[in-house]
Each structure stands twice: as structure tokens, then as C-alpha cells.
Symmetry: C2
Subunit: 419 residues, 2 copies
């Protein structure tokens, strides 16, 4: 009887208050996968009851120190968790990074020295510190426990998982089906990543959508090691300035977190209204209610441009300062005031041969002028502006990746992506 | 030019003398697989030229200390190699034995303590010492290098092999196809076994037929680690006394190496002539020429019984002493002299219900007597012998697994297996 009562006690659900339901809604915002929500709700309730913060883990890739705002989506989610009182853990995978890919098949994964790893991690943390409160962030290196595992520990770890389960990972399944070689250590790496969650006693692990499988391994291994399994949360990739494809440096559709305030502000102002709401979900630290209110106002006739200004200021404020954000807004208004930029500017893409295109050719191609001589005349008369600034040089070149707002005279506007 | 000359030099084959050809023929005798013979011939030639013995490895299973003569087949092959001047290495897999099967799937593989492992290995060596010259035997424990591998070394080892190659192993392929679980550590064990060959710089690895795949892994890993790959040699399983199935305790068709001299001698004498020649190949330390001569004599009319006596004496001599062998021969002759055991006795199998059968029932069932009362009469008159010894007890029970030679009166004989 006692045993049954104990069991009933253990299985008893904790009360989910409105506060917790609201926290859940915030955490859920913008996520790609969030498993298992009921479990996480209970974790939140328990954390509240016991006053013990939840441990939220993010694996950090110490090979790529420079980040753009696309990379901050997951940091933002972590910041929300911090603001809810929970602990963020950056897990630096120095153990595997130091090994690299010993089979030499993957040249993008060279072994890194310990110094390089620590330096890269520090560069990353300096950047992440713009989003997160580093005072409330735990930074751990997995060599701390992976070295101690030893060959015995690694074999015991391997015994906790079956081949079939590992081959469920999309890329493994695909390569196996295509008879492309899978070196055995590649199958061990997800187990080691999962073991990090065991060592850290993680309550939640975050990652990109492509990490879903690996995060689930951690969940499973924790269960095997007698721990309460972590929940997992994956974030989608941020769509870039073009509104078409994922933000990346190679697509030239990104905002670097070290971009100058005016550039950053202008780039945010250049995105479409639809994309703006996605960015709100993924990049803003405003609460759900506040965002819902903004959407409501726009639906009732307010200019979406005002909401975009708010977002642009929030982002510039985060990566520079509130003062810089205000200055960028003023600068932006000053540039465009005269021209009274319409709220809906036609968007077009121009292909630059060999990576560059002259301003005259660009204006002609987009139909903003009828000929290059008309383009030149307008330039000479000060009637051509790029991002609000007068063009005086007929020989100006634009380059692949440039995204610019062009004004010819008072009424002709275009947002042009140079491809 | 120099490079090409060096290469030609390196690829130059060493002279294969008649002595080496003869050694090859001896080593080849009775083998199941012997790869690659040309390579091994060259290894032998180089050993001869440089005076450096070859390193011949046998992995030892420290979980099963008690052996029967079926287990000595591979020891015999090692003894031939010792007699040719080469080094025998017993590799005690204490590293993996101490881990056992952490997934708990394989109950026949419990983790063993270091003490148990050393004790089992010593028990095995005491027995193996009856076949081998232990003075010229190196005993190594793989914990020596496997612990030092660490988790990094193990991952680097794993990177040397692909999943597809490991799944070529029959049992893995079968289980994968049948969707039976394969725990990841099971895939690591063959790599560790192969790494033992790297650590030992083995020239040859021996094993049972079921070890073929694992031995090939060692070959491949040595190549990966820049060593000359080992050759591999597998021996078939010895067919047991019944001439039907592999020798094993559970089939009751075995000769234990601690069996008493008379039992051992009588059991060898009970095997068929055809099986005798297999046993000669696998158990005798006589040279090929000597065995060929014996066969020739039998083909020319000599009684195969004489050849069987020679084999029986060799085996008893090995596990006891030459004196014991001579005594066993005399005892055997004394028992059967009176009855003049015919050279070809009919063989039959009797099924014992619930594991045992009375002597009367047995004699009736096999048709040696017409009724149990005739059986009892014969017993009372001292006319029934089992393995040359008079039966005086009407209530004698035979048991499943017994293989006996029964004589009733002067002329009725049968070799009976109780099933």
C-alpha cells in the first residue's frame, strides 16, 4: 500500500499556474520543435516550487567564432529562459573539437588546439554576451568529463545505444542507404554529445533544427543513466534580408552583429512586413502580449513601418546601445524625410556580371531611367540617392550581395538586391 | 630512378627454400582458412634470413577455463609454430572481459573481476602447457594498452573503420537484416581485438572459424597504423566421438584433457577410421610425411586399428605421460583380448527416456538379447561387458551421453550411444 501511495505521489502532477502557462507560451514562441511540453511545464512548476533553476544547455561550436544575427535566435531563447530565472549552460565541445575528424574525410573539421578552442569560445562568448547575461551563464568544457570517461567509460556509453537507433538520424540513414562510408567514430560523437547532458544534468537542451536527433540522444541517455530526461527545443533558421533564404554570409543577406548602427537599422527597415513578424518572434525580447498588441494595431490601420522602427531600435540597442539606436533612427529619418519614402517600395533583383554592376547600368536595367545617359544626368543633378545618400559618382559600382534602397527624383523608388 | 630501384628492392621476393615449403605444408595442414599464404611464406623466409621469430597471436577467452581436446586443435597448430622456432603470444582479453556486456543483453558474458580473469587465464595456461612449451610462450593482457588508449584513442581507433565494413560480419549482417538490436559497443569490440594485433605487432593471428572476420579486422588496422599486416589462420572445430557433430560437453561426445588415461585411450579407440584421419591432421604432432606413410600402409592392408593405437598413445602421452599411455594400451588390450573385439562393430543409438535407461532395457532395445529376462540371465552368468568390464548389477543405469562398447557373450558387439 505504501509503495503504491509513494508511486501515486511521485506521479502526481504539480499545479500549473497561469504564470507557468505564460512562461510556456513565451518559450514556445518561434520554436521549431519543443518536446515534451507537458514534461517541461512540470519542470517549470517544480523549479518554482523548489526554487531550483532549470539547467538549459546549448552546445557551442568552437570552430566558427563570428556570428550574425541569425545565430542569435537561439541565444534569444536562452535570454528568455534567463529572464525567467533559469540557468544557461554553454557547453564547449573542446573534447571532440580537439580530435577533429581523424579519418580525414571531413576537411571542414580540422583538429583544433586547446588554445584555439578557448580563444574561439571566448570570441563567441563576447558576442553572445550582447544577448545574454553572462553573469548568469555557466560555461563548461566537455573535456572535463570526456577524458575521464576513458576507454572503459566510452564502451559502457556505447553499450547504452543501438546501431539501429543511431541510423535513424537522417544523414546517417541517407549515407548508409547510398553506401557512402560512415566512419565508426562518427556514430560515437552523438553519444558523446548526449553524455554531456548526463554530465550536466540538463533539464533542457537547445539547438538548431538539424540538431534534433542529437538532442534526443541526450534525452535517451539520461534516462539510461537514471536521470529525468531533458526536454528539447530547436529553433528554426532565421530568414535573411531578402525574405527568401536562410540568413548566411555566403548569401549576402545577413546583418553582422558588429555592423555599424546605421547599417543595422537600415537593413532591418528594408525587410518586408511579413518577415518583420517572424523576426519579432525570433529576435525580439518583447513579451507575447506586446507583440500581439503591435500586430493588432497594424491590422487596425497603423503603419507597419512604426513597428519596424521599434524592432530596428531594439536590435541596434542590443548590439550597440540605446543611444546609438536613437541616433540611427534620427539619421534614417533625416535621409528619407525629404523623399518621403513610400511604405511599399517595389522590390527587384539585378544580376551583376562578374560580381559587380555600374550605377548607370543598374538604373537602366531596373527601369528607373530610360537610358544610361538619363542616369548620368540624374546623378549629375543630385537626383539619385542610395539608402538616402546622394550619389555623385557616375562610375559607382554595386556588388553582388548589396541590398539597397534607390531613389530617382522624388517619386521613383526601388529596393534592389544585386545578385 | 633511385626511388624506383628502392621500390623494386622492397618488392623483391625472398627465396622460398624447400625447408620453407615444407614448413608451409605443415602449417597449412588441417586449416580452415589461411590468408595470405604467399605473404606468410615471405614472412617465414624473412624470419629465416634475419633470425627473427614470427609473432603468432592467439586470443584467449578467460571466461571458459576448462578445456577438452577439441580446444587443443589450435594449440596444436601453435605448437607446430613453436617447433618451427616462432613465438607464441597468448593474448588475454582482460580489458573487455572486465567490462563484460554492459548492455546486459548477453548473459553469458558477465563482467569478471581482475582476480577471476588472472585465475581463469592461469587455469587455461596450465592446461595449454600440456601442448605448448610455455617457456617459449609470451602471455600478455590487453588492459596493458587498452586502458592507455583512453577515450581519445578509442575514437581515433573507431575512425579507422567504417560501419559498412563492420556490418560485413555474418552475425552483425544477419541481426541488422532481422532488425535485432546491435548495441554500439558490440561494434567496437572487434576494433579493440584488432588493435591488440597492432599493439603486439603480430605476424599471424590464429582463431576458430567463427573468428575469421575479427582476425581480418586486425589485418586491416595494422595496415592503417603503418604495419605489415598479419596473416590469419583459422582452424575448424573438431568433430566429436560420435563422428557427427562438433565436440562439446553438452553433446557428451568429448574427451576432457583431465580424463583418466584408460578412458582417454578407450575413447580414441572408439572413433571411426575416417574420423581418425581428421584427428591425425588436427591433433597429432607427427609430421605430414609420417601421417602420409600411415595412410599408405592402411591402404595397403594394414589394420587401421594399429594407427588408432598410435594416435591414442600420442594423446594419452601428451595429457598424462608416455608410461601412462603404454599402461593404457596394455589395459585396453587385456580387456578386449578375450573377446577379440572385431574391427568393425555396429553402431547404434538408443533413446533414454528422462535421461536414463536400465541395462536390460538397453540390451533388449538394441536387439542384443530377445528379452529383458534373457538380459538378466546373461548378466548373472557374467556374459555382459561394457567397455571390456563385466556387468554384475541387473539394475545398472546408463545415461544420456554415454558412449559405450557392449559385448554379449562372445560374438555380439555394439557401440551404443545413449541419446
Amino acid at each position: 500500500m505504501t509503495v503504491e501511495l509513494d508511486k501515486a505521489q511521485a506521479e502526481k502532477k504539480l499545479l500549473v499556474t497561469d504564470e507557468i502557462r505564460e512562461a510556456m507560451a513565451l518559450i514556445r514562441r518561434g520554436t521549431d520543435t519543443f518536446l515534451i511540453e507537458e514534461e517541461f511545464e512540470q519542470k517549470l512548476a517544480r523549479a518554482k516550487m523548489t526554487g531550483t533553476p532549470l539547467r538549459c544547455k546549448l552546445g557551442l561550436d568552437p570552430t566558427a567564432p563570428d556570428i550574425h544575427i541569425g545565430h542569435t535566435v537561439v541565444l534569444n531563447k536562452l535570454r528568455q529562459l534567463q529572464d525567467l530565472g533559469h540557468t544557461v549552460i554553454f557547453l564547449v565541445g573542446d573534447f571532440t573539437a580537439a580530435i577533429g575528424d581523424p579519418s580525414g574525410r571531413n576537411v571542414t573539421r580540422p583538429p583544433l588546439s586547446h588554445e584555439q578552442i578557448v580563444e574561439n569560445a571566448q570570441t563567441y562568448l563576447n558576442q553572445a554576451g550582447l544577448v545574454l547575461d553572462l553573469e548568469r551563464t555557466e560555461v563548461r568544457y566537455n573535456s572535463e568529463w570526456c577524458n575521464d570517461l576513458g576507454s572503459v567509460g566510452l564502451i559502457q556509453l556505447a553499450s547504452r545505444y543501438t546501431l539501429a537507433r543511431l541510423l535513424e538520424r537522417d544523414d546517417f540513414a541517407k549515407r548508409y542507404a547510398e553506401q557512402a562510408p560512415i566512419a565508426m567514430h562518427e556514430l560515437i560523437y552523438p553519444l558523446m554529445q548526449g553524455y554531456d547532458s548526463v554530465a550536466l544534468k540538463a533539464d533542457l537542451e537547445l539547438g538548431g533544427s538539424d540538431q534534433r536527433f542529437n538532442l534526443l540522444v541526450g534525452r535517451e541517455l539520461q534516462r539510461q543513466y537514471g536521470q529525468e530526461p531533458q526536454c528539447i527545443l530547436t529553433m528554426p533558421l532565421l530568414v535573411g534580408l531578402d525574405g527568401q533564404v536562410k540568413m548566411s554570409k555566403s548569401k549576402h543577406n545577413y546583418i553582422g552583429i558588429t555592423d555599424a548602427p546605421n547599417d543595422m537599422f537600415g537593413k532591418v527597415m528594408s525587410i518586408s512586413d511579413a518577415l518583420m513578424w517572424d523576426w519579432y518572434d525570433l529576435l525580439s525580447l518583447r513579451g507575447n502580449a506586446e507583440i500581439a498588441q503591435l500586430k493588432k494595431e497594424c491590422a487596425e490601420g497603423c503603419n507597419p513601418r512604426d513597428a519596424k522602427v521599434l524592432l530596428a531600435k531594439e536590435i541596434v540597442g542590443r548590439f550597440h546601445s540605446d543611444a546609438a539606436a536613437t541616433a540611427a533612427e534620427e539619421e534614417f529619418n533625416a535621409r528619407f524625410r525629404a523623399g518621403a519614402m513610400p511604405s511599399d517600395i517595389p522590390e527587384m533583383t539585378v544580376t551583376a556580371s562578374e560580381g559587380e554592376i555600374g550605377i548607370g547600368q543598374l538604373l537602366k536595367t531596373t527601369g528607373l531611367v530610360a537610358s544610361t545617359s538619363e542616369a548620368n544626368r540624374n546623378i549629375d543633378q543630385g537626383g539619385v540617392k542610395i539608402d538616402g545618400q546622394k550619389v555623385s559618382d557616375r562610375g559607382l559600382k554595386l556588388h553582388t550581395g548589396d541590398v539597397i534602397t534607390v531613389q530617382v527624383g522624388k517619386r521613383k523608388w526601388a529596393k534592389i538586391t544585386v545578385a
